[in-house]
């Protein structure tokens, strides 16, 4: 009886996660120290969904047989993981020392002002979200902003409207 219940839970969890992730978890279970792969599993889940939803973390917990509290604890410890859906376009501003010295702070102020959201939030239309990167290691190009995959070098506050415009930003609409 108990086994049946567990199986049901496992089936449910398997249905929630994409198949490659399920297979990866099963592969890890065969390795030495299977629990040590928790962080890579979370990476894969986030890669697929864009963020870590509670149900997905619960599913990881069931499949890896690690308490949900622990899964959440590990996920929330690391900056790389986020728990809310991100915008269609992810704007990431580097706040490393070189970028800071070259005025990234002003770019960030303007960016938050333009989009009307703070770091870590997503705009109401779901188009943009702002993240702050610690250092992307392209210090000579400072200040650096990354939209999705594209890197913008030497960004100045007054270039933002134009850059964001490439991704469908409308300054008039956003002001409201």
């Amino acid at each position: 009886m108990k086994n049946e219940l567990l199986q049901k839970e496992i089936d449910k969890a398997m249905a929630l996660l994409p198949e490659p992730v399920v297979r990866y978890i099963q592969d890890c279970a065969k390795k030495k120290n299977p629990n040590s792969h928790l962080i890579s599993v979370l990476h894969k889940v986030q890669e697929h969904f864009g963020f870590l939803a509670r149900e997905h973390m619960d599913a990881v917990s069931v499949l890896m047989q690690i308490p949900a509290a622990k899964v959440t604890g590990v996920a929330s410890f690391y900056h790389f993981f986020n728990f809310t859906p991100r915008g269609k376009h992810r704007v990431s501003l580097c706040m490393g020392t070189a970028c800071f010295v070259k005025g990234a702070g002003k770019v960030l102020d303007k960016l938050q002002d333009l989009l009307g959201i703070k770091v870590g939030e997503t705009s109401a239309d779901g188009l943009f979200s702002i993240d702050v990167a610690r250092c992307v290691g392209a210090c000579a190009l400072a200040p650096v902003m990354i939209v999705d995959e594209k890197v913008y070098a030497g960004v100045k506050p007054d270039q933002l409207v134009k850059i964001l415009g490439e991704y469908g930003f409308n300054p008039k609409k956003a002001k409201k």
Binding site: I39, L42, F80, D113, G137, A138
Partner: protein, 638 residues
């Protein structure tokens, strides 16, 4: 059956045959810098353009390949054109249009296009040949036979980055050409683990990750542990903002790191190695994965590597953005799949690390130096540097300096030589204010300290530290209190929260700094910061906490007048701290063009066209846009 070294040399011969056929014997060989920074600067488009041009002209004797980053970040993308009997020409800041001009002139007509090339310093070798380049020279010499003619590189010594920008990181055959894996085979076949440890001790190599502990001594501790199961870990969790030498090393020369780990593993008796790398470095991860796969395929990793009876394999583990995981005990927890929180030492990881087994953790740069120590010998290695700091150090030179990029200099070079010699001095004719080394754990040194030699002891004595190698140059436009606040903001956010001094202390220090920078500082704040800093330094659990007050303490020590101006006069001398600024219009200079008025977001600037404008101080939000908009210097910031 031939011995492992013969097998390796045979493999190299085959590699050479293949490369000569496919790449090196061409009339013209072109390489394009392709690291993360180069790609961001537009290298992929340039690469595509050259491919297209070769195809268009149907050229059979022109080859094209990717190389790592040369470290000349502000001139990227860099395209190097090799032809026999002439010094390779380095073309800078290439775009598809510019590269077409280079192609037309240099490749089609054999006339180098000097106007677009990197400025040449003292020409060292005009009789360049591919044979000479790949000859069995000292490992560190090869870089200068390609780049030795350029001023910027002429003052450096490339040891860690010896192959970056020279070889194709995705082609293991090119690594074999630069005596790749010969150090590993030499160690496995001719040396006992004890010999290796003693060689590394003799070389004087110290950990490049920041601590500066003797690598050989660390290995010796682990070797002495009686345990069947041991681990060797490469720390590539380069979380230090402003440092990117590890990324560049892995992207430009991943096999060196693998080879260093093989040697380290053999020395301490570890059959499994882990590379703990930041998830934020996708290209480095990809190149490392490719390199590990190629090494496995060749039998350099796995069971019975290089045909010996030694087993060794490497696994990659991704970090997830936690600065504290650069601390070795935290890193271990993270590899184990836990929250990356440090624990008190001893026991040191060399005695009890991953899953309680003896574990050695070294930084990327440290591993990259190991093949040099083995092949060129510990005597030669220790001939470079100072009495206590041997070899070279890579710095990520950034900030307000003319030449930004990765520079590698012998230990003992002065800060002045790095900033003014290699770095070319301060940008835009501004005045030097400070140089920040060691990232959030280091400190800011003023002009009077510029003659400090770069080595572990001297930098620490000056109140900063070597750290992992970030070097940010700060000019008169930056406020030192604000810089200190920036670093505290970082460490406070990255504090793991396990120990109270770091968790609470950094938060309180940050609050005081925020108060000062917003104009609400009170007498006694400086003393409070120093007292708190001292307590945090002495009582925190790990290196992150212990070093976190350094940026504050060093800026108070060297720039106390700036703190005092903020607190007593409510003035920010550099004009950075918004809360302390006033903007006003100088009537004599204002021509009434209205540029400031149009930019003002509040809006609080009034005035008719062609008449003097005025700023309403009560409504001004001090954004500074009017200051930047005015072309007549009529807006005064004070």
């Amino acid at each position: 059956m031939s011995n492992p070294m013969e097998q390796l040399l045979e493999r190299r011969e085959n590699a050479e045959k293949r490369l000569r056929r496919e790449k090196f014997n061409a009339k013209v060989r072109i390489t394009v810098g392709s690291a993360t920074c180069e790609n961001a600067a537009g290298a992929p488009d340039v690469f595509k353009k050259i491919e297209e041009l070769i195809r268009k002209h149907g050229l059979k004797d022109v080859t094209l390949s990717r190389v790592g980053c040369t470290g000349r970040c502000d001139m990227e993308p860099v395209v190097t054109v090799f032809s026999q009997r002439t010094t390779p020409v380095k073309y800078i800041a290439m775009t598809p249009d510019k590269v077409e001009k280079v192609f037309d002139s240099h490749v089609l007509k054999a006339i180098p296009l000097k106007a677009l090339a990197m400025p040449v310093g003292v020409v060292q070798d005009t009789d360049f040949t591919e044979e000479k380049l790949w000859a069995d020279a000292r490992l560190t010499d090869r870089f200068s036979s390609v780049f030795g003619d350029v001023h910027f590189f002429g003052k450096q010594m490339r040891m860690t980055l010896r192959n970056c920008g020279v070889i194709d990181p995705e082609d293991m055959d090119e690594y074999l050409m630069v005596r790749g894996y010969q150090a590993a085979v030499k160690v496995l076949t001719e040396m006992t683990p004890n010999d290796v440890v003693n060689t590394v001790i003799k070389s004087g190599l110290r950990g490049r990750g920041g601590g500066g502990f003797s690598t050989g001594v660390k290995w010796n501790f682990a070797l002495a542990q009686k345990n069947e199961e041991k681990y060797i870990v490469c720390n590539a969790d380069e979380g230090d903002p402003g440092a990117f030498m590890d990324r560049s090393t892995i992207e430009g020369d991943p096999h060196t790191v693998i080879e260093g780990m093989i040697i380290g593993g053999y020395a301490i008796g570890a059959r499994v190695g882990y590379v703990y790398i930041r998830a934020e470095y996708p290209l480095a991860i990809k190149r490392l994965e490719l390199a590990i796969a190629a090494a496995r395929q060749a039998g350099f990793l796995g069971t019975g590597i290089f045909g010996t009876n030694w087993d060794f394999d490497i696994e990659i583990r991704l970090g997830a953005g936690a600065f504290v995981c650069g601390e070795e005990t935290a890193l271990i927890r993270s590899i184990e799949g836990e929250r990356g929180m440090p624990r008190p030492r001893p026991p040191y990881p060399a005695a009890s690390g991953l899953w309680g087994k003896p574990t050695v953790i070294n930084n990327v740069e440290t591993f990259a130096n190991i093949p040099v120590v083995i092949l060129d010998g510990p005597e030669w290695f220790s001939s470079i540097g100072t009495a206590k700091s041997k070899g070279t150090k890579v710095f990520a030179l950034a900030g307000k300096v003319c030449n930004t990029g990765l520079v590698e200099v012998p230990m003992g070079t002065t800060l002045r030589d790095v900033v003014y010699g290699v770095g070319g001095g301060i940008r835009d004719g501004k005045k030097f204010k400070a140089v920040q080394t060691g990232g959030p754990a280091g400190g800011c040194l003023p002009e009077s300290y510029l003659d400090t030699p770069v080595d572990y002891e001297s930098l620490t004595a000056a109140g900063s530290m070597m750290g992992s190698g970030g070097m940010i140059v700060i000019d008169e436009d930056s406020c030192m209190v604000d810089v200190a606040r920036f670093f505290l903001d970082f460490t406070q956010d990255e504090s793991c929260g396990k120990c109270t001094p770091c968790r609470e202390g950094t938060k309180r220090m940050l609050e005081i700094l925020q108060r000062i920078t917003s104009g609400r500082g009170v007498e006694g704040d400086i003393e409070k910061l120093l007292r708190l800093g001292d307590t945090i330094k002495r009582t925190s659990l790990c290196g992150l906490g212990q070093a976190s007050p350094n940026p504050v303490i060093s800026t108070i020590k060297h720039f106390r007048d700036e703190y005092e101006a903020h607190i007593r006069e409510k003035r920010c001398p550099a004009g950075v701290c918004a809360g302390l600024l006033t903007f006003s219009i100088i009537a004599e200079k204002c021509i009434g063009c209205g540029a400031c008025k149009r930019k003002c977001p509040v809006p609080c600037i009034a005035g008719k066209p062609k008449e003097v404008h005025e700023i309403d101080q009560a409504r001004c939000i001090k954004c500074g846009q009017c200051f930047e908009a005015c072309k007549f210097d009529a807006v005064k910031r004070s």
